[in-house]
Symmetry: C2
Subunit: 461 residues, 2 copies
């Protein structure tokens, strides 16, 4: 079915979208599919700024870049909101097997890891297939050793392999230290077979020794396992310079297109501006920045303003613990009830294959009708228990409706948090489709005559 007949058939039934809204939606759809603005934005950000770890000099340049970009685009309002963050720096990192098969390992410090003592540490390794195996181990097995958790991540379109494995990244060092380990070697949370180590944030807790924690590349994890099959005593030396620079300030960068009839109601589309420090953050999350700014840009190009205010939020410090998201939530506490809906693009460049939501069930027909417009772009209709994306996930517990424009993440964890997350990994067709989907979503939500609240109570996660 072509767009026009779709529009006519949806217009013929009772609909939350006016004929004018749908006519503009068709125009937006056509425009978005011939625009490379999302791609160009990722190119600009990854080239001119590159790595932008929260708190770093690159992060400050990213904030300036984003502010200038939104101003240039002609947003009605562009502003910064401060976010207090810790500033951690990787520094030098080295690991090598010393005995009995001396050779270097490809590693990366996990974000927030402490340094090793001057001169490094050297110890025998003990391998656990999973975090649970470590947790079940006797302390006397673990004490004085480097714990090696070798949990392989499964490839999945929706990234469902991530959750079961990433927990060891967060708490592995604490669990290992509780049993007297001197360090953590984590098999990278990755679906790749290339020799990149994947970083990501880890945490310490008070009262447990802070031991250095690194990820090792998948081929290096396999190499250690092969060595252990030959000799139970494999010694590894670890030398990390990681630095804690205390707290500093970063910024959520926000741009608004003021609604012309319900300006106080907000449709939020977000992405995060910060990245890990080894790649240039093309997929994570330059793509999201490109997608949501392109969507707003397409809407800015219409002569017709949206009824509600469209707010683009480029979050600070997502990677190190959703710090920008929490700061946004707290700063906007007074107007969260005016947040009509929120969604975040933070899973690569797409394409978007499914429309999910968390809205009142009475409002689902409005999503079915939105879906009818998105289906020609290859989008399926999904479920109603979305969390909306990492930064946006802090909002549903406070009653804010969210949508999940679910992206195909089959290859996402091949690149995620590695030096290999670079501009060439963006598929121009995929990001163009994703920007088109966000454009239609934002436009339709900014103009819908429907009540999305109260939302179904979020489940325990």
């Amino acid at each position: 079915m072509g767009m026009t007949s779709l529009l006519l058939s949806t217009a013929a039934s009772a609909t939350p979208y006016s004929q004018a809204t749908l006519t503009h939606a068709e125009r937006l759809h056509q425009h978005a599919l011939t625009s490379d603005s999302a791609l160009q934005t990722v190119e600009s950000l990854t080239t001119e700024v590159g790595p932008r770890l929260a708190g770093s000099e690159g992060d400050a340049r990213a904030v300036a870049w984003a502010q200038a970009k939104l101003q240039q685009m002609g947003f009605d309002r562009v502003y910064l909101e401060p976010v207090e963050i810790p500033h951690w720096e990787r520094g030098y990192a080295d690991a090598r097997v010393t005995l009995p098969f001396p050779q270097p390992l490809v590693i990366t410090a996990l974000g927030n890891s402490v340094a090793t003592p001057e001169g490094g540490i050297e110890a025998s390794i003990i391998r656990f297939p999973t975090l649970a195996d470590l947790q079940a181990a006797a302390p006397e097995q673990v004490s004085g050793k480097l714990v090696f958790i070798d949990h392989k991540m499964e490839r999945d379109k929706e990234g469902r392999g991530y959750g079961p494995v990433v927990k060891a990244r967060g708490v592995g060092a604490v669990e290992a230290a509780k049993k007297g380990a001197v360090g953590l070697l984590l098999r990278s949370v990755s679906t790749s077979s290339h020799r990149f180590a994947h970083t990501g944030v880890m945490r310490y807790i008070d009262g447990v020794a802070r031991i250095p924690a690194v990820a090792i590349s998948p081929p290096d994890a396999d190499q250690l396992t092969r060595m252990l099959a030959r000799d139970s005593d494999i010694r590894v030396k670890l030398d990390l310079e990681a630095m804690d620079h205390g707290t500093t300030t970063s910024y959520n960068v926000i741009g608004e297109i003021t609604g012309d009839r319900k300006a106080e109601e907000i449709v939020l589309i977000g992405a995060h501006l910060d990245t890990w420090d080894e790649g240039t953050g093309a997929l994570d999350d330059g793509a999201g920045v490109g997608i949501v700014t392109a969507a707003a840009g397409h809407i800015l190009a219409l002569e017709q303003r949206p009824q509600r205010t469209l707010r683009v939020v480029l979050y600070a410090a997502e990677e190190i613990g959703l710090l920008g998201a929490r700061a946004y939530r707290d700063a906007h506490k007074g107007e969260l009830d005016k947040h009509f809906i929120a969604a975040e693009a933070d899973f690569g460049a797409g394409p978007i294959f499914r429309l999910d939501s968390r809205v009142n069930e009475r409002a689902l027909p409005a999503f079915d009708q939105m879906h009818a417009l998105l289906a020609p772009l290859g989008v399926e209709r999904g479920h109603n228990h979305s969390w909306g994306g990492p930064d946006v996930s802090v909002l549903p517990p406070l009653g804010v409706p969210v949508a999940g424009l679910s992206m195909d993440g089959t290859d996402y964890f091949d690149y995620h948090h590695t030096p290999d997350d670079t501009f060439d990994k963006i598929d121009p067709d995929a990001i163009r489709q994703s920007a088109a989907v966000y454009t239609l979503f934002a436009w339709l939500m900014a103009n819908a005559e429907v009540d999305l609240r109260p939302i179904p109570l979020p489940e325990e996660r």
Copy 2:
């Protein structure tokens, strides 16, 4: 056609292979296709030794590993031959754009590069699409700059994209220095889009300044090109610690199965033992070591000895300029006329898709008949102007016949000379097929009743 009918049909015509030879060939064929010994050898070498750059401590361990391996396998004779080599060490290497878009670059020092002066060097870059463009440039354009040669390699099954591009790796620094450049940034000689820099040897010449030379990863080369599209003055800082440790001794490791009737005649199958230092040398050239030792091992397992002596040569210092090959050629000058034929496996794990040769034309029917036995393994009949492989290429100019068991190298330059050349990149089926082909080749050549000489004169290369 099955093996048996093939054997009968080839046996029925005039043939250089006796019925006994062909019967054993069929046994070898069946045995080789159920054996993982080549794979196991690569696993052992890459795990227990790992990187083995000529002259390094890993190289010494590789020599000891190879000697023990050949002895264990039951070769009749195992011996080492010394090779004098330079010992270069990479050390610390760092490069970053300093202005106007500060960010790190993924680089690797080219083998043999000098270090930068203490504190590094910083200069503006000048891009040339090819070496020829650099050679055509006016010195005043180049003087004081870092030359960036951005020549992309084409993917090709036979690696034909390598030659046109790799020349800039060898002579790029000299050509740049002649025009007053302060360093060379070479786009990696690579077909990959991953963020690995590919090392490889470069050379200086007397009378031209020795400037530091590095390869940058393909995504980083693209990044510099994007930067240059925005600003003609891109400044890069380069900091290399590369060390020249003078000369040392490595060893060609040689194992022989003594022929039972023409012991003085030699069928040589070779591979090289050394590697670059960042990967574990699985494809380059652990695979070759696995293939040729497995072939000899299958023949050792026969109760029947070959008529000619089968000599496995694991060459030293191929990567830094065929130094083991030249030492072998010089040490064996007196018996080169007794080298019946030579072939080398040094292009990954296979599969082998074509049988090439350089033998007297009268002997081509013997290769056609060998091909009839190899065809069921997927091998095509090829040409008669083979060079036999890198190390073996020094022999045809001295009259030694060679064969080229040509491997599918479509993906080879994705991994070649990078940290990502690791054991998991070996395809078990491909290396099994390659070992089977080498087994049949070695057996048939060791028993053929044919004269391969004089060979067609090698062309100028």
